[in-house]
């Protein structure tokens, strides 16, 4: 089939539609009466809920920090976790701005990149977690101390300082210094730009699901459409 034949087939299709396609007027009336909500609305409220959880975590950590300010092991751990939740919170706010500013009359590549970014939200978390690998001891340090402060007998001696035999600082500094290169390397690798690498594809799928992997693949396709000669 030649191109002119395809075009003339399309014209036939146009004429058929012109002759028999009808729109239900009552539905258009409902739309213009603004009785229909956007399908992005649930996503917006999910991000709001996430932001509230992140703020609650930060509030808990600030209280923890105030109570344990004089003990550097706890205050340093709490501060690094506050930094973690702060980055996550900023990310949620950024996503809310994208949703609010979503204007479908922009070009396809721009809008679809924004939407794919929203879909790949869990990938941002996965990247953040690997970036915080060097501060991995902070989480058990804070959690065990908080449980200990609840005076539960079975947790009486189960704080990280006791568990590391008083060498918490040595363990922390050693873990941080040795894991910084790994954290930074993983953070840079876990991007849609590296989807051609099998381990990156597998990691994204296992940590964030198939949907996120597909969104990342779409981001890569859009990026190449916009910026590369095809």
């Amino acid at each position: 089939m030649e191109l002119n034949e395809i075009k003339s087939l399309w014209e036939v299709y146009d004429k058929k539609l012109e002759a028999s396609l009808k729109l239900n007027q009552r539905f258009i009336d409902l739309i213009v009466a603004e009785k229909v909500r956007s399908s992005l609305a649930p996503l917006f409220w999910r991000r709001i809920a996430e932001g509230i959880v992140q703020l609650a975590c930060m509030a808990f950590l600030v209280v923890f920090l105030c109570r344990n300010f004089s003990e550097p092991a706890y205050s340093v751990s709490a501060l690094s976790l506050i930094a973690f939740y702060m980055v996550a919170f900023i990310n949620s706010i950024r996503q809310l701005v994208i949703i609010k500013r979503m204007d479908y009359s922009n070009d396809i590549v721009t809008i679809q990149s924004g939407l794919a970014m929203l879909q790949a939200h869990n990938l941002d978390y996965a990247r953040m977690v690997v970036l915080f690998i060097p501060a991995c001891l902070a989480f058990p340090t804070v959690v065990l101390k908080a449980i200990k402060d609840l005076h539960i007998d079975s947790f009486a001696n189960k704080d990280m300082i006791t568990l590391t035999g008083g060498h918490w600082w040595t363990a922390q500094v050693a873990a941080t210094l040795s894991l910084i290169p790994l954290g930074l390397w993983c953070y840079n690798q876990l991007s849609y730009k590296n989807l051609h690498k099998k381990w990156v594809r597998n990691f994204i799928q296992r940590s964030s699901g198939k949907r996120v992997r597909k969104a990342a693949e779409f981001m890569k396709e859009l990026h190449s459409l916009k910026f590369e000669a095809i």
Partner: protein, 174 residues
């Protein structure tokens, strides 16, 4: 929004309803999905209508929104609940259950082949067949004119090959 805007919007939608149907038909295989998508497209057209500038061709503006909504709709998870708010169909179009003429069969094949294209390729082909210039297609899609030209030529080849393969299979089995 003013009453005149509502009337104007309704008129423009009626005039260009074919665009909505073609986009929905290319991105959705089931009637329910097609109706859901049509609702979402009209909702977003109405939401953006206040910002529509008359110096921009309405069909071009409409294509941008319809295709953006369709691609994001298509990419959503499957098995999602339908959001139809209205029990009646929004788009009413009776298709021939069995194509009789050669032309009808070819049209059905063409629609099937377009439906099988990748999301962005589908958009480009719909715009191309909708008589949009390369410049318009580049503006709507956000890719360069030269990339549009390359894409179109590849898609055309693919469609030709699909028709040829189908023809060979048909005569081969006869």
């Amino acid at each position: 929004m003013a009453m005149t805007d509502k009337i104007l919007f309704t008129e423009l939608i009626k005039e260009n309803k074919g665009i909505i149907f073609k986009v929905c038909n290319s991105y959705c295989s089931s009637k329910e999905d097609r109706d859901d998508l049509a609702q979402e497209i009209i909702y977003n057209l109405w939401k953006s209508f206040a910002a529509y500038k008359a110096n921009f061709k309405f069909s071009t503006w409409m294509y941008r929104i319809a295709l953006n909504v369709a691609i994001s709709f298509y990419r959503k998870e499957k098995n999602k609940p339908h959001r139809t708010i209205y029990s009646e169909n929004l788009l009413i179009f009776e298709e021939d259950s069995t194509p009789n003429t050669e032309e009808e069969k070819n049209l059905r094949l063409l629609l099937q082949f377009i439906g099988q294209l990748k999301e962005i390729d589908k958009s480009i082909m719909l715009l191309y067949l909708g008589d949009k210039s390369y410049r318009d297609i580049a503006e709507i899609t956000g890719i360069t004119e030269s990339n549009v030209a390359t894409k179109i030529s590849r898609i055309k080849e693919k469609l030709k090959t699909n028709f040829l393969t189908n023809q060979n299979n048909f005569y081969g089995t006869k």
